[in-house]
Symmetry: C2
Subunit: 553 residues, 2 copies
């Protein structure tokens, strides 16, 4: 069963504020900040960029997520007396006491965040967020922002891949709470799996906090807790139209069991009484929501019991919902189950049996989803836990946070590993769209440069290539980042999980299939403008000449 | 730098209570509970067992963790009006309103938890926790308990493996916050990495909440934020003994730079001025805690700058701490660095240079740690992030929670996959110790059975074997589980992280090296007593005969 939840931003907000205290960061942020402060550099206007260097899971795209929590974190950023007292106890005794007063006074009122909107398709090496403000403050924000973006984007991207692998038809249920990194890991997983393309979660708290529709019916323990018909109570059920006395539901079901067994050539004496008792008990409690797990003993046995109870429900006017399979070859079993359900429908003229859903769960991975598309099966809803929430294929996204400007001067780290070099300066990021409406190139320009124009040819330099410049003409140009936070205030409406989910689908929709392929996709081009490329070249040349790898003056 | 924290159970407690609301569970726990309630079975005294089926990471042991949080969760378990209102909105409309009043009245006052103490070495398929009480309540606890135990035990076991791979000498620093599953994933990782054998964390909030010693000095961004000597301020430092006027620290360092370059045959003109400025600035701010990252440009350059600043510090009576390497071949680099440090020590008669520490960080895995033991290197402290907190090798532990008794009758799930069958009944778990003090077998007995006696021969049936019974004589017998919670109260003192950490080391200490081996360890035997084995056989036989897989009567 599923219940849609409303938009519950306030609850989500309270939850995030509580769990991201400003001390949830690495100690070196404070020792470095003390260094800046001691040198009188703490107010120097600086900018950091947040980006990742490789798309996860061997794909050619990622989804950007975590912004909502980052904005709340910035808005509420300040140190309590308790925080400062603790810092006093862990920073070296030589720390000037005035530094702690300085910390106590800090907030994000001078910080400006420009960011890609949450739920947007993004690519490796393009700056997703630019955090600008006093050096001391923007340095202190690093770890918390990375922590909020890394896993959210990773699990959101993973969910999107499950959705792509599954196709739009099947319903996807996230059920990974018990395998996540503790309570909040589970909550984050539920929220961003939904945003990335899942329909439902089993996690009730995620329903409460983020409005994610929740679903679930029964586990094997429910079935195994019953041993005999004596445990079924009440044993009656009223007709849906209420125009009869309550009916003895056990007798009714036993009658149907006989007919079902006859139809399928099975022996009624061989069914599992405890399982039948469990199904009966559940159906009497929730006659509108009958969807039992049918493989506690064997699918054959579970299916007989299901059909008998479901037929009895139908006779009383209720519509049973479906069955869950939790072991073995789900594809084959679902086909067998469907055949039996159709047989019942035909033989007993029960159209409700034609629309029963089959839920498949059991260690589902992206590969399983791909298999579901290639192999005959009748699975309507897929429940995914471990492989979704732990992102088994790649359990972390390597977002980094790099300094690009101090006091108006570009900063660049030049590494022997070209992938580890940074792109200097404050930038604008443009997404170039082709005539068919597909994005084909993301362009990084220096902030003061004019935006590229639709229909106008431009030259640029792909980031990950042999240096051959490209000539392109966009049919449309989108400015990818927006100002999201300034002067202590969030400057765009905070989006609910459902709104961000819609953005994900919209953003993925426009992406060309060749970039969306899960296996061996075409890589997407991220390029530098001529001006930015020239700055990089100049800084590189200067660094080689002067052996001074950072050029600010 | 590292600062030991005190015992801060109260803060830890507040944090956990806030983050494990009773709705942080799967929806089906509520639909099942409704089924029990509707059938009048909700008060039936029942017992569930929590265990995992396979040791993680290819090892033959695991560490049990998460108990502390489970106890607080039990103690505080109750539904608020808001919770119940939300449940009303997601459970089927047919749900009897009286059920919500029932939920509102629930707590754990009738629940008893018997558990292995936190931080104990445990093995696959032995019951770690037994949760007994009214069927409705113990069912509702499932997901939250699994969530609290699974990741805590996994990351604790992972940390213990890093510690075993590293040997006792090296200090281990956890620094995975930015790659964990969101804020609380990071906090849980820091806490249980410490418990599993790490010495330090970079996570300040983990220091505040759990008393984990925190450490850290500087990142590359600090170094790259400096470009010239003009940014160093103040430029003076006082002699440690305070018996001189403040000294021009830049000039002093430049003098040393000349001497160091001469010693090493390097050109002072080739050093990176921004890096030197960053080091100077940090040393002036923290003259007692000088430990810079030296590979922002090149280790050669960073090391020259380090030696110059460190020699200047020594001249003023301070002891520099060490250097951090964050890229490339850490083993080789550390050897080269050590040679230079020794050369300086000898040439300049500076004994402080003999005790400098070398910190190595950069995507360290268990394999890297093993390599550190096999290859020449001079690394004293290792910082581990991603591979520790995400448990890359196996990102989830598969703890399950299975029904073993209802109303005094044993429950058993018999599966075609023997690994998925459960062991029925309420049990005692004994650890049998050999004459050398090593545990050699864990024995599961039915609760009413007398405990095995030291020096007395017994027969038992290994769980994972061909059915051949074993005859063993323990030199000592330990009852592995204790009552931890009953009548709404925690009945054992809540342990601090440091206390649990001590238990981990003690428990690992006694384990025989053949079980501790990281690669291809000998598997440890978990066995059933004769009585328990007979019960299993009887239930299996009964189930085959009656095709009734669960026997309760």
């Amino acid at each position: 069963m599923a219940a849609p939840g409303g938009s519950t931003c306030d609850a989500a907000e309270r939850s995030v504020v509580a769990r991201v205290p400003p001390l949830l960061t690495d100690l070196y942020q404070f020792t470095m900040t003390y260094g800046y402060w001691r040198a009188g550099r703490h107010r120097e206007h600086s900018a950091f960029e947040l980006f990742f260097r490789e798309n996860p899971f061997g794909g050619s795209f990622s989804l950007f997520a975590g912004l909502h929590d980052c904005l709340l974190f910035l808005r509420n950023f300040c140190f309590t007396d308790q925080d400062v007292d603790f810092l006093r106890s862990v920073l070296p005794p030589a720390t000037d006491p005035a530094f702690f007063q300085f910390l106590r006074s800090l907030d994000c009122s001078d910080v400006t965040l420009r960011s890609v909107p949450e739920g947007t398709v993004v690519f490796a090496r393009e700056p997703l967020m630019e955090v600008a403000g006093p050096l001391a403050v923007v340095q202190l924000l690093e770890t918390s922002l990375l922590c909020l973006v890394n896993y959210a984007s990773l699990v959101c991207s993973n969910a999107a891949r499950f959705r792509l692998a599954s196709g739009p038809r099947r319903k996807l249920l996230e059920m990974g709470l018990r395998r996540a990194q503790g309570p909040d890991g589970g909550l984050t997983a539920s929220r961003y799996s939904y945003i990335g393309g899942f329909d439902l979660t089993s996690n009730v708290q995620a329903g409460l906090l983020f409005g994610v529709p929740v679903a679930g019916t029964m586990a094997h323990s429910y079935v195994t807790s019953f041993t005999s018909m004596d445990e079924v109570s009440p044993q009656t059920l009223v007709d849906l139209n209420g125009d009869r006395e309550p009916v003895d539901f056990i007798s009714l079901t036993k009658g149907w069991l006989g007919r079902v067994c006859e139809l399928l050539g099975a022996e009624p004496g061989k069914i599992h009484e405890g399982e039948l008792a469990a199904f009966l008990s559940y159906a009497i409690a929730y006659p509108h929501n009958f969807l039992p797990v049918i493989d506690s003993y064997s699918v054959t046995c579970g299916l007989l019991n299901f059909c008998a109870v479901a037929m009895a429900l139908c006779e009383l006017g209720y519509r049973p919902v479906g069955v869950r399979l939790d072991s073995g070859d789900l594809c084959k079993q679902s086909v067998d189950v469907r055949r039996v359900l159709r047989l019942c429908s035909k033989r007993f003229s029960t159209s409700a049996f034609d629309s029963l859903i089959i839920v498949g769960t059991n260690n589902i991975s992206e590969e399983t989803m791909v298999e579901f598309n290639n192999k005959e099966n009748e699975i309507d809803v897929v429940g995914v836990g471990t492989h979704l929430v732990t992102c088994t294929k790649q359990p972390s996204l390597g977002c980094v946070y790099k300094l690009v400007e101090v006091r108006g001067k570009p900063r660049m780290k030049i590494s022997e590993d070209p992938q580890k070099s940074t792109v200097p300066g404050r930038k604008s990021v443009y997404r170039l769209i082709d005539a068919d409406g597909h994005p084909f190139l993301d362009l990084l320009c220096l902030a003061p440069e004019p935006a590229p124009e639709a229909g106008r040819h431009l030259r640029c330099h792909p980031l990950a290539a042999d240096g051959t410049p490209l000539s392109v003409t966009p049919a449309q140009v989108i400015c990818l980042r927006q100002q999201m936070f300034t002067k202590g205030k969030v400057t765009q409406p905070l989006r609910s999980a459902a709104e961000t989910k819609a953005n994900v689908q919209c953003s993925l929709q426009s992406l060309h299939p060749r970039h969306k392929r899960l296996q061996e996709p075409d890589s997407y081009t991220v390029a530098l403008s001529e001006q930015l490329y020239n700055l990089v070249t100049e800084l590189r040349r200067g660094s080689t000449k002067k052996n001074n790898f950072i050029l600010g003056n």
